[in-house]
Structure formats: structure tokens, C-alpha cells
């Protein structure tokens, strides 16, 4: 970033916007979050293409993505050179990294071998594009690794300052408060796959060792898709080849001039060649002479890519039934297949989740479910009045529902483990789960039972039970169960996730004669 040029200003503005939106993806006292927080995903052509292919329908949420795709037809890969925050980060660091020359394995058709399987598996209903989507990659690295690390460091420092200064630390509070309110995550969550997410990001940086924008031109599926489209468009650079007398472009161009001919599908419109042409010959103009370009890809790449998608979509279908039992999806997700079609694994829902209930799946949802969100109630629960995950989901995989409707969505159903649960196993009082159950009519209730404790003393103990018709599986009971490690009440996945009926069914008041068919007395 030596010289200020229009593309560079644009890049920095979009990077700043990306970071601001990233920080805005957090509850700040209002039930609604500004809709723009997922803007980068909704304007992402790869997300739009893969999700619409998978859902086999038009999704209005993703219209901006289609617009960018159409724009790429006319303007080429301007997204890569002017907008993409990952590309900007690469441009910012690449100057400090010495180059050793391209990796040969990547210079061929490697990028099509990535893009095609992703798109064709989408057609078969498994939307994997998000795994390698640059925006998703960056957001996940930030969400799962860098932001928590930053928060943990700052907050840890603040805490240890309390150890050193005690109450006198309050003098510094205003400064820390600013930092905390605007930059730090509300709580530092440790995520599975945090290391892997960071590693992938660092690997992309590492590729800069070989050539500039190595990821963008050799691998990035989003860039590849845009490149494919741009070949069909009217925008051309003249001259299309390196000029015999100069060849300065070759040094300037970050992506597309390692050969004699400008590679349209790799040109990111950074304008470096036009701005620095010694003889001011270079022009970008519409409907310029069509350069001679080879075929996009050989038939074997195309067919291989499609077959690769089939393998991806069908070959990783295996799912472990035991892991399935606890595979809880965010509220409003009713059908697993439909969810897999739409989820782009962007990590927005996990970033915004109030109680850190959502985590990226590793293999719980099978290999095809990598990075999809699932709810781990022992670590966090779905806050009754919160609707944020649906609001930030760019594709509607988690539907954006009004609060009352979201409260009726069934995530799973709670069930007791009476070998663990204190009133059953130890015959002593507890009912923390009943206390926290947010359902107005209480999905967890208890009956007073006269029994003899193991100490020989007769006493009344309140034994809890679950009212299935009221339970929405929010998981707070499992979260707050005071037992160590495994909770005595757990939320399990259910196939039938029909929302609860609006007015709670004529349920009996607490402490009445309702008997739980499974509750043994004593």
C-alpha cells in the first residue's frame, strides 16, 4: 500500500466497513440488530449461487449477491480488487513477504477443481461453498479465534490489574469501558475449530510467500466464479498482451500477467497497469477487441469437478447416531436437509449468540455439516426473548422470526436422567431447572413427594418432570443444572419440530394432581 489510488481507498473503506459490521454483530441493548451486519454475505455471489442452486429456488435475501454477479459480467473481478476484505488484508501484508515463485500444482486448473465440486454438490443439496468462501473464512477466523483472543487478553489484563490495584482500578474504568463497549466481545467464548479456522487464514497469508494474491488467483472459489463470469463480459483491457517494448505490466500486475496474455479471469481490476503505464497505452474499455483466450477448462476438469461434487454431497453422508441425539439446531430450523442447503457456514449466528449457545459443528452433523451451527446447552442456552441468530443469518437458513413465534420453535425436548437428578438419585431438593424454565406456564414442573431420605429421615421432596407439550428445548435447564459435568436434564433432538401451539394448552397449574407417567414415587 504505497500509493493512494481509488481502488486502494475503496479497499480500505470496505475493510473498515467489514470490521465495523463485525463488531456490530453483537447485542447492544436493542432487540433488533442493524440489518447490514450480514451485508457482505448477502452481496456475496458465491453464497447466492451455491445457496440458490441448493435450494433450487430464488431467495430474495440474496438478491445483492446476484447483482454483484451481474456487475461482474460488466466490470470483471472488481469485487476482488476493490471490495474483498480478505484480498485487502493480503495486499496489506504481501509487501513484507519475500516471493519464491508460484507453486506449480496450483497454477493449472486447481481453482476449477475447487469451485465445480462445491457448486455441483450444492445442486445435490449440500451447500459446502461457505467452507472456502473468502468472506466466511475471514469472519470465522475473526469470530472463533482472533476476537476471543483479543478479548481474553484485554480482559485478562484488566482482571489482573484488579489483583494489583484493587478498588483503585476504578479510576481507569471509563477508559476500559469504552474498549469493552465497542471493541471487546461480551464474553470470550472458546470455540471448537478455533485453531483450524485461524490456521486456514494463516495458510492463506502464507501462500503470499509464493506469489502475490496467490489465494485469490489460484484457489478462491468466489474469485474463480467471478472470473468465469467476467470472461463473458464486454470489458477488455487494451493492449491484451504485454507490449514488446515495455513489459512493465508484468512487474506491476499482482495477478494476471505471468504470461504474455492478460488472464481476464484473474484480473482484479486494481488498475495498477493503467496507472503506471510509462507510455499511457493501457486502457480498460467496454467492447474492446476480444482477446484470444483458450477454453475455460478442459472437459475432464468439468466432468471431474461435477463428479467431485457428487462425492462431496453423497460420500460424506455418514452420521453417527449417538452424536445425532444431541445435534440441536438453532431455533426455527425444522428440517435438517433444508438447513444444510441454506447454511453457508458464515459464523454470523455464533458470533451474535447472546449466551454463547451456538458452536460450529465438527463431525456431529457428519462431514457435510462441518462448521454448521449447533446448540450445546451445557455451554450456553437459547435466550427466551432473543431473536438475533435469525436476524443475522444471510440466507434465511435460520429464519428471522418475531419474538413470540421464535419462542414457540422447538429446538429439542428436555428429559431427565433420574440416576443423576438430585431429587431422584439423592432424594434431596433442587429444582433449579424448574426455576429457570422461561416458559410462562413452566415446561418443567415438580410434584411434592413424601419419602424417606437415605439418611432415614422422612421428608417432602420436589421431584421434577417435563411437560413435553410446553418444552421448546431452549436448553437453559441443562445449562443451569448444578451438577458437575454432565447435567441431569438434557435436551435431545426430536424429528418433529412443529412449533408449540400459541396459547399454552390447558395445562394444569403447578402443584396439582398431574402425574408424570414415568415418575416413580420414591
Amino acid at each position: 500500500m504505497k500509493k493512494v489510488t481509488t481502488p486502494r481507498i475503496s479497499q480500505l473503506l470496505f475493510l473498515a466497513l467489514f470490521l465495523v459490521l463485525f463488531l456490530a454483530t453483537e447485542y447492544r441493548g436493542s432487540d433488533r440488530i442493524v440489518a447490514a451486519v450480514n451485508g457482505f454475505f448477502r452481496a456475496n455471489p458465491l453464497t447466492a449461487a451455491s445457496t440458490m442452486l441448493a435450494a433450487r429456488s430464488y431467495l430474495p435475501l440474496l438478491l445483492p449477491g446476484l447483482i454483484v454477479l451481474v456487475a461482474a459480467l460488466f466490470l470483471g473481478r472488481f469485487f476482488c480488487g476493490w471490495i474483498c476484505p480478505l484480498g485487502t488484508i493480503l495486499d496489506l501484508v504481501t509487501g513484507r513477504i519475500r516471493k519464491v515463485g508460484a507453486i506449480r500444482a496450483l497454477t493449472g486448473r486447481a481453482k476449477y477443481w475447487l469451485l465445480l465440486p462445491l457448486l455441483s454438490s450444492s445442486l445435490l443439496g449440500v451447500n459446502l461453498a461457505g467452507l472456502l468462501d473468502p468472506i466466511a473464512l475471514l469472519l470465522r477466523a475473526l469470530t472463533f479465534f482472533f476476537h476471543p483472543l483479543f478479548g481474553d487478553t484485554v480482559r485478562g489484563g484488566w482482571r489482573s490489574l484488579y489483583g494489583l490495584m484493587g478498588e483503585r482500578r476504578d479510576l481507569l474504568d471509563p477508559g476500559y469501558r469504552l474498549l469493552r463497549d465497542y471493541l471487546l466481545p461480551f464474553r470470550e467464548t472458546l470455540y471448537p475449530l478455533a485453531f483450524f479456522s485461524a490456521l486456514l487464514f494463516v495458510l492463506i497469508l502464507f501462500l503470499e510467500r509464493y506469489e502475490r494474491r496467490a489465494w485469490c488467483r489460484r484457489l478462491c472459489p468466489l474469485g474463480t466464479l467471478l472470473g468465469l463470469v467476467s470472461r463473458l463480459g464486454p470489458l477488455r483491457r487494451t493492449p491484451a498482451k504485454l507490449c514488446a517494448d515495455c513489459r512493465a505490466c508484468r512487474e506491476r500486475c499482482p495477478t494476471s500477467f505471468d504470461q504474455e496474455l492478460l488472464q481476464t479471469e484473474e484480473c482484479i481490476l486494481c488498475m495498477e497497469c493503467a496507472l503506471h503505464c510509462p507510455s499511457r497505452r493501457v486502457r480498460f474499455r467496454f467492447a474492446g477487441p476480444r482477446p484470444q483466450v483458450g477454453p475455460v477448462m478442459e472437459r475432464r476438469v468439468f466432468l471431474g469437478g461435477v463428479v467431485g461434487g457428487v462425492v462431496l454431497a453423497r460420500g460424506f453422508r455418514f452420521r453417527d447416531p449417538a452424536a445425532q441425539a444431541k445435534l440441536l439446531r438453532p431455533p426455527g430450523v425444522r428440517d435438517e436437509d433444508e438447513f444444510l442447503k441454506k447454511c453457508v457456514r458464515c459464523g454470523e449466528c455464533m458470533k451474535v449468540c447472546l449466551r454463547s449457545a451456538l458452536y460450529p459443528a465438527f463431525f456431529q452433523a457428519g462431514a457435510e455439516g462441518l462448521y454448521t451451527p449447533l446448540l450445546l446447552p451445557r455451554l450456553g442456552y437459547c435466550e427466551y426473548n432473543c431473536t438475533l441468530c435469525g436476524q443475522v443469518c444471510p440466507t434465511g437458513a435460520i429464519p428471522d422470526l418475531p419474538r413470540e413465534e421464535k419462542q414457540r420453535q422447538v429446538i429439542g425436548k428436555a428429559a431427565f436422567d433420574k440416576n443423576h437428578c438430585l431429587p431422584f438419585a439423592k432424594r434431596i431438593d433442587c429444582i433449579v431447572c424448574e426455576e429457570h424454565c422461561p416458559i410462562p406456564g413452566k415446561a418443567i414442573r415438580s410434584e411434592r413427594v413424601e419419602l424417606t431420605g437415605f439418611d432415614g429421615v422422612k421428608r417432602t421432596v420436589q421431584q421434577p418432570y417435563v411437560v413435553d407439550e410446553l418444552c421448546n428445548g431452549c436448553g437453559i435447564c441443562e445449562n443451569v443444572c448444578p451438577l458437575e459435568g454432565k447435567a441431569a436434564i438434557e435436551v435431545f433432538r426430536v424429528k418433529d419440530r412443529t412449533p408449540l401451539t400459541p396459547s399454552s394448552p390447558a395445562a394444569p397449574p403447578p402443584g396439582d394432581s398431574y402425574t408424570d407417567p414415568y415418575a416413580g414415587n420414591s
Binding site: 447485542y27 447492544r28 427466551y384 426473548n385 429457570h436 410462562p440 406456564g441 448444578p482 397449574p509
Partner: protein, 293 residues
């Protein structure tokens, strides 16, 4: 009369006049101020002045903690959290009495951000000078020796323990296990650690905490009470509007009186019973001075 003789007569007379000595002191038993009216700020002030006004508790330059119930993500009308008007009035009175700083906080059960916002308390106190409405910070919890029957020690919130004056402002409501949550249960809001684990012996555990940590003033918000599905409710059908506040320096007495609002007797509440037996306060209604204003 010589002193020695006086004591003898006093001692002997108590033998013959059974309960006389006890009644002498009981007659001056704890004052419980009960104020009623739809002006919730007004009744809060009335109850306070019946006890001698806030200046009886707060001296100029002191740090005061006002501890409402902000435990749940519910709006005030659901009666799961303390009435923000009552809280604000108390804070204003503290400042009027010359408090240097008033801190308002609670350890919430739902997300603290949502609880603070939904309860209306954060908004009610917004912009007030020398008033702090902060989420709890983990590092401020301190291990405190309780030497109780079931709890030997527990982590309590440092800012609550070190405050010059601690004012307890619970909302009166139903609870599945302890039947009601009132003043003594509200103290759980400054307890750290795994609070759920004290449920197995909640009456003794709460008595333990309340024996070691005594609020200077307890003001129970019964402007509206939650009669079922507590402690967080969520159904307006369970809420009863009473337009009352109850204030006392005796936490047990305040709880005992508030119990009657639910049609229960003080002795029905195990926590109250346990605290009374330990001498933490009075639970017999006829031995307290109930001042209705």
C-alpha cells in the same frame, strides 16, 4: 437501691411475671412500614420516612449499594424484577442524604445485558450523577467465611460487602422451591459460584448467608406481585397489583409481613422459619410494630 439489688429484683421478678421482660422489649419490636398507593415513588418515600428517613441509614460521603432483583429478562409488569420507579426513588433518596456513590447491580440469571435493559432499571437510572449501574465483574467476588450450618464459606460480591450501606430491594414473588422469594432470597444476587447447588438445603443456606451478611434496610417491592410460575413468570394472569411497599430494618420481619400478601403465614416459609430460629429477626406479626402509611 443498690445496683446489685436492682438486678436481683429484676431477675426474680421475671420469674414471677412470666414473659414480662420479653414483652417489654417486644413492645418495641421491629418497625415494619407498609405504604400503599398508586404513586410508587410516593409510597416508597412514605415508607422510608416512617422508618426515620434515608438520613437514618445513609450519612454524607458514604457508598451505598442498592440491590434490586434484576435476575430475569422480563419487563417490569411481569413482576419478576423490582419496580424501576421504586429503585430510582431509593437511589434519589440516597443521593439526597448525601451518598457519595450509589451502586446498583445484581447477579442475573438470564443474559445480564437483556436483564438490565428489560427490567427498566438501567433506563430509570440513566444519566444520574454518582450512580453506577454495572454488570458484575468476576474478579470482584471474594471468599467470605460464613461459618454457617451448611455453608462454611462462600464467594460474595466485594462491592456489596465493602459498601457502607447496603439496601435490599427485592420484589415479592412466587418461587417453586422456597415458595416465595423475598428479602432473604434476594441476597443470592451477591453470591458467586454455583448458586444452584445451595438449593438442596436452601432454607438453612440462605439463613447462613443472611446471618453473616445483614442489609441495613430491606424494602420489599409489592407494587405488583407474582403469585405463580415464579421466579420469572411471564404471564400477566399470574400478576396481582397491590401497590404496596414494605420497609424494615429487620429483614425477617419484612419477609414475614410480605408473606401475608400471598395469603400465607410467615411460618409457611422455611427460610423465614430458619432465620427466626437463629435469631436473625422477628417473624411473629403481633410482635412487630406495623406502621401503615
Amino acid at each position: 437501691m443498690e445496683r446489685r439489688q436492682f438486678i436481683k429484683v429484676l431477675g426474680l421478678s421475671s420469674l414471677f411475671l412470666h414473659g414480662w421482660l420479653r414483652d417489654l422489649f417486644a413492645a418495641q419490636g421491629p418497625v415494619v412500614a407498609v405504604a400503599q398507593g398508586t404513586d410508587h415513588a410516593g409510597i416508597t418515600r412514605k415508607a422510608l420516612s416512617a422508618l426515620g428517613g434515608m438520613q437514618r441509614f445513609v450519612k454524607p460521603g458514604q457508598t451505598v449499594v442498592v440491590k434490586p432483583n434484576i435476575g430475569w429478562d422480563r419487563t417490569p409488569e411481569y413482576a419478576a424484577t423490582t419496580n424501576p420507579v421504586v429503585v430510582r426513588t431509593l437511589v434519589e433518596e440516597c443521593l439526597k442524604a448525601g451518598a457519595k456513590k450509589v451502586k446498583v447491580f445484581d447477579r442475573t440469571c438470564n443474559d445480564p445485558r437483556r436483564c438490565y435493559a428489560s427490567s427498566g432499571i438501567e433506563a430509570a437510572l440513566k444519566g444520574m450523577k454518582n450512580v453506577e449501574v454495572k454488570h458484575l465483574e468476576e474478579e470482584r467476588f471474594k471468599n467470605v467465611a460464613l461459618n454457617g450450618k451448611v455453608l462454611k464459606e462462600w464467594e460474595l460480591y466485594g462491592e456489596a460487602v465493602s459498601a457502607d450501606v447496603y439496601i435490599n430491594v427485592p420484589v415479592a414473588k412466587h418461587h417453586g422451591l422456597s415458595r416465595l422469594t423475598l428479602g432473604m432470597k434476594n441476597v443470592m444476587g451477591i453470591m458467586g459460584g454455583n448458586r444452584g447447588s445451595i438449593h438442596k438445603n436452601i432454607d438453612q443456606a440462605l439463613a447462613d448467608v443472611n446471618a453473616a451478611f445483614r442489609p441495613h434496610l430491606t424494602l420489599i417491592d409489592a407494587t405488583r406481585i407474582l403469585t405463580a410460575h415464579g421466579p420469572q413468570g411471564g404471564n400477566l394472569a399470574d400478576v396481582k397489583v397491590l401497590n404496596q411497599v414494605i420497609a424494615s430494618t429487620d429483614i425477617v420481619a419484612a419477609d414475614a409481613y410480605a408473606t401475608t400478601l400471598f395469603g400465607l403465614k410467615p411460618a409457611d416459609i422455611a427460610v423465614t422459619r430458619a432465620a427466626y430460629r437463629r435469631g436473625l429477626g422477628e417473624m411473629n406479626l403481633d410482635r412487630m410494630r406495623i406502621v401503615r402509611v
